[in-house]
Subunit: 298 residues, 2 copies
């Protein structure tokens, strides 16, 4: 059993807000900070407290969760003036659940260690629906003892939490996850566009292949969206663009050429240029559809 009772929480966006509410429901004392007032009010109404800075959210907390858009945001909110690390007591743990480049996680971890504060990077997969239902997949980087201490706190948030390695390993795993997802969406897109332009009913193709080696969670989740021409998010292309950029930056640091990921990043960039950043990432199909002059949906 963990000694964690008091949680600071910074970043009440689409993901952070339901996560904070799930921790309150699990009877943690949750103190939140965000500049967006309606989100703060909603979490306070659910039983949380609010404070006016990240440092104040960290003060007196056993664990401080940050849930922010990208690496520079995490760095600023945790290490900046009035930031989490300023308020965090030695022996407390900062759990950055943002999806960022692993190099940022490693830099932040080093700064925390220097102040005697523990750190985990713990990005998640599953999107808003799983954040709400508390069924996220949590990918963690850091020390085993710290992970063991924090693990009970992950229970109201996730269906699984796996320690993948040392600092940054959670975010490296998340990048690997995002590569697999983006590439698979692109493959499903090319396959269904080809079938449609050949005159087939994509639903029949879907039914014929889903049980075999081509079967995947992407096909099951995104195939029907493509067939319906429904690209409402879900997970936004703009966020997947960020993840692919971080994957390629990390791959460049490690001297790992990723030709397929790079091609799909170019496609995603083109879709963002077309104003589709807010569409679901299944709209990668739009690029293939436009090239072929057809749509998977009727």
């Amino acid at each position: 059993m963990s000694d964690i009772k008091n949680i600071g929480f910074v970043g009440l966006g689409i993901m952070g807000k339901p996560m904070a509410k799930n921790l309150i429901k699990a009877e943690y004392n949750v103190t939140v900070h965000d500049r967006v007032r309606p989100a703060v009010d909603e979490v306070v109404a659910a039983g949380g407290s609010s404070v006016e800075s990240s440092a104040a959210a960290a003060a007196g907390a056993d664990a401080i969760i940050t849930m922010l858009p990208d690496g520079p945001d995490s760095e600023l909110v945790i290490l900046g003036e009035g930031g989490v690390l300023e308020g965090a007591a030695p022996g407390s743990v900062i759990v950055d659940m943002s999806s960022i480049a692993p190099a940022f996680s490693q830099r932040i971890a080093a700064a925390c260690e220097a102040k005697g504060v523990d750190f985990l990077d713990a990005p998640v997969s599953g999107g808003e629906p799983m954040a709400i239902s508390g069924a996220l997949a949590i990918m963690v980087g850091g020390k085993q003892a710290v992970f063991d201490r924090v693990a009970p706190m992950f229970e109201p948030l996730g269906a699984s939490a796996v320690l993948c390695g040392d600092y940054g390993a959670g975010n490296t795993t998340k990048l690997a996850n995002q590569i697999m997802v983006a590439v698979n969406i692109a493959g499903v897109s090319e396959a269904l566009v080809l079938a449609k332009k050949a005159g087939l009913d994509p639903q029949k193709v879907f039914d014929a292949v889903k049980g075999g080696l081509a079967g995947s969670n992407v096909l099951n989740a995104k195939g029907p969206m493509m067939m319906a021409g429904n690209f409402a998010p879900g997970f936004r292309i703009g966020l997947h663009q960020k993840d692919l950029r971080n994957a390629l930056l990390t791959a460049t640091d490690l001297a790992v050429p990723l030709p397929i990921t790079a091609l799909i990043q170019q496609i995603v960039g083109s879709l963002v240029n077309q104003g589709k950043a807010q569409n679901d990432h299944s709209a990668i199909a739009n690029f293939i559809e436009d090239m072929a002059g057809t749509t998977i949906a009727d």
Copy 2:
């Protein structure tokens, strides 16, 4: 119930031989032809009859199955001198279960129709293990009434048989299937190579992501092979090369650009040049590993 009792079967390769034996086990009268004597002997020992030409295998048959490497083989064996169509009686049905370009299926179908012989293209997915266990996924193109007549004959062969559309639709669906599979293998490869070179244990990455949107039958089946460095087939790269070539030829005919499939075809061609045509298609990972100077396996 079907009136099909007597089956001609041409092509006793890795797939055809166990399929013919499953039909014999289901008490069909099976007459086989192949130039490879040991395969013929094995099927005769299991209760089949053998004849010396494709035309002779078709003579007196209610249905004739062909299971051959590629489109030109199907065309020669079905339409050539001494071929299946020469021996097939009007009202019988030729079921070409080879994986070939849909344009070949359509040409063969037209020649059969002209002689009053029915035709289905019915390629399969699942490889040798599913051929042996009679659990193939069968993707069918042709007329509904012909499909309905033949459907009982598919039962000893497959776990599913789906009529996907008119002539060629079975093979178009198979190409869509092979695109999804090849692209997904490549995505899993890039993700696991990146994670490994970042210092992570690929098994932990696998465990952390397999239940989420990145989860797929490819990840479950091929991820462990990559992590073990075991690229024994399975499904040979040389055959996937053929399928991707047929996919791109078909896509060119239909004016459908497939940039990701094309890139992966280039990678597969490189692996074949390196003498890896007989390796499992999961060896697509080798190309990414070589570029990165690391292997997913320890």
